[in-house]
């Protein structure tokens, strides 16, 4: 049997213990779902796709932020069979394991994280060679699923709630490297302030814990170079 401690409450609360049968190939999300369906229907948590695409099921598992649908119990539970589940850190808690992600995504907006096109529907398709350096730099971070694991792991976010965070900055870096994008200087300006890329301490927690294996630290380093170059030369690319 697994001895599972689950956070109950909001930002204030307590851990509640559950005993859950251990099964072969069981994921953390399976454990949470079994508790909610078999033992306590009031347990709140969030999931959708169950296959690592939607980014909604992230939680802190035994002290580390993870995507729970793709994390097997056998990978995180030792011989003591103990499991501790908490909501993601650095987010306000809605209830139990479900967090409020509005501010997280507002920061994507604040970091100019939306594509800005200078083309019209009358223009032909842009041709972007996949092997070009800028497309490869964009591709390196494009698979982000917005799960919030990096944001939960980030020390700077925990110290300074205004910091844009690794996910938003990673998104910005993919757009800076998108040759079709027209935001240019405005996007770099958006990440050049006290809450922007230069506040990163390069602890690399985001890169360590990203379930997709992305490297937001390197994206932020790229932004630092681009913003610094713009400040020194006035050029954006």
């Amino acid at each position: 049997m697994l001895q599972v401690e689950v956070w109950r409450g909001t930002d204030r609360g307590r851990f509640q213990s559950f005993a859950v049968p251990r099964r072969e190939h069981q994921t953390i999300l399976d454990v949470v779902t079994e508790i909610q369906r078999e033992q306590d229907a009031t347990l709140a948590y969030r999931f959708a796709c169950r296959v690592g695409m939607c980014g909604s099921c992230a939680m802190v598992v035994n002290g580390r932020p993870r995507w729970t649908c793709r994390t097997r119990v056998s990978d995180v539970v030792g011989d003591d069979n103990r499991l501790r589940l908490e909501p993601l850190h650095n987010f306000a808690v809605v209830k139990d394991l479900a967090v409020e992600m509005t501010r997280f995504f507002d920061k994507w907006r604040d970091a100019e994280g939306s594509f800005q096109s200078a083309r019209t529907r009358d223009d032909d398709f842009a041709i972007v060679p996949p092997s070009s350096p800028r497309r490869q730099a964009a591709d390196a971070g494009i698979e982000c699923i917005g799960c919030g694991v990096c944001y939960s792991a980030c020390d700077v976010v925990s110290w300074d709630a205004s910091y844009l965070g690794p996910a938003a900055l990673n998104r910005t870096w993919t757009l800076v490297n998108d040759v079709r994008d027209a935001a240019g200087a405005a996007r770099l300006d958006a990440v050049a302030g006290d809450n922007g890329c230069h506040s990163c301490h390069v602890h690399m927690s985001c890169t360590t814990f990203c379930p997709k294996g992305l490297g937001p630290t390197y994206a932020i380093a790229g932004l630092k170079r681009a913003v610094t170059a713009r400040a020194l030369t006035g050029r954006t690319g």
Binding site: W159, D194, H198, S199, A231
Partner: protein, 109 residues
């Protein structure tokens, strides 16, 4: 940290890397060589190279340290805004005045 502060802090870090190395090497030389205070003062008095080095050193410190202090304060407290900027600027001015004063005293001693 803004881009301007980032550049200022990194640029002064480069200066400090050299200045601190020379500073520590000089201390080790003076201490291990058994120089007396009078002998040290005899070397610093009227020494333009000494004064130039330490004025650059002090100026770099006076820029570098307040920027770092500002970041630490922002991360470890709720203090933000113009009052914080003025406070760390004042701290930098204090470092500059004290450091330049010390270098000048040894130059003019």
């Amino acid at each position: 940290m803004t881009a301007a502060l980032f550049i200022a802090q990194r640029a002064t870090a480069v200066v400090l890397a050299f200045a601190v190395t020379i500073h520590l090497a000089t201390i080790v030389y003076a201490a291990r060589g058994g120089l007396t205070a009078a002998e040290i003062l005899a070397r610093t008095r009227g020494n333009g190279w000494f004064l130039a080095l330490y004025l650059v050193f002090v100026a770099a410190v006076a820029i570098h340290a307040p920027i770092g202090l500002r970041t630490i304060v922002r991360e470890w407290s709720a203090w933000r805004g113009r009052s914080l900027d003025l406070a760390v600027a004042g701290f930098g001015a204090l470092l500059l005045a004290m450091g330049m004063g010390a270098a000048l005293v040894l130059f003019l001693a």
